[in-house]
Symmetry: C2
Subunit: 147 residues, 2 copies
């Protein structure tokens, strides 16, 4: 399960010539075990006790390394902090407009949309990004209580 995922990730890195440092190991491990798509700062804070001297720059640098190796996806939100998601199987995100919580859901890939887009625009398609927005059950409950 998650142990194997970590091992695979480390192999992938090594094969592309990236050194495995304790910091990289810890960041990867935290990302894999994390359920909540952390920000760079959350990772930094979570590892503070184990790595009191680690710099925020190290977190950012390594997240970029992981992203370039295809191990990690960056979820961007304008002015707010990016969130980082360890890539496992394909999934999409649904995001609460009220509290910002992110939940995974699975759906077959949208190849048909990619094909149409490519056909209409002449682009060579690489990937797509899909997010659904709404109100999570918790916030929905609180809203109905308030009324």
């Amino acid at each position: 399960m998650s142990g194997a995922m970590l091992k695979d990730a480390l192999v992938t890195l090594k094969e592309s010539g990236v050194r495995i440092t304790p910091q990289r190991h810890a960041i990867l491990e935290f990302l894999i075990s994390s359920e909540c798509h952390p920000t760079a700062d959350e990772i930094y804070k979570a590892l503070e006790s184990d790595f009191p001297n680690m710099s925020v720059a190290t977190v950012y640098n390594n997240l970029r390394v992981f992203r370039n190796s295809g191990l990690v996806k960056e979820l961007t939100y304008g002015d707010a902090s990016s969130r980082f998601d360890f890539v496992t199987h394909d999934h999409y995100h649904i995001i609460c407009d009220e509290c910002g919580s992110i939940v995974d859901f699975h759906h077959p890939g949208l190849e048909e949309v990619e094909r149409l887009a490519s056909h209409v625009t002449g682009f060579k398609v690489n990937s797509h990004r899909l997010e659904v927005y709404g109100v999570c059950p918790t916030c929905e409950k609180q809203a109905s209580k308030a009324n």
Copy 2:
């Protein structure tokens, strides 16, 4: 065409109690006539000659006003500047990984995906965001020339 769109937009604003200032008029007009999803700064620079004293804050403030009125959509990209898109009919965007250019394309709404996401997660769905990424014909051509 675009004249009517501007008029409609002004009516919408007035009806929701938003004052029509020369700056707002100009920003809206520029957004509607623009084909290229400008950033706040691009709008600011484009209107500099007509409004030499206008502040960047004014551009940001008004883009937020327009967004809250549903006239404008904000396209966010992590660290980079947001881009702003006057809402006409529903369309999606395809974005070049090389040069960043954004092209519109039309596709029926993804209600089926929204339904599934809602069913699986228990969220009440409000909206979704879909973007396709790839390489535009221009960049593709340059790449093949380089080889």
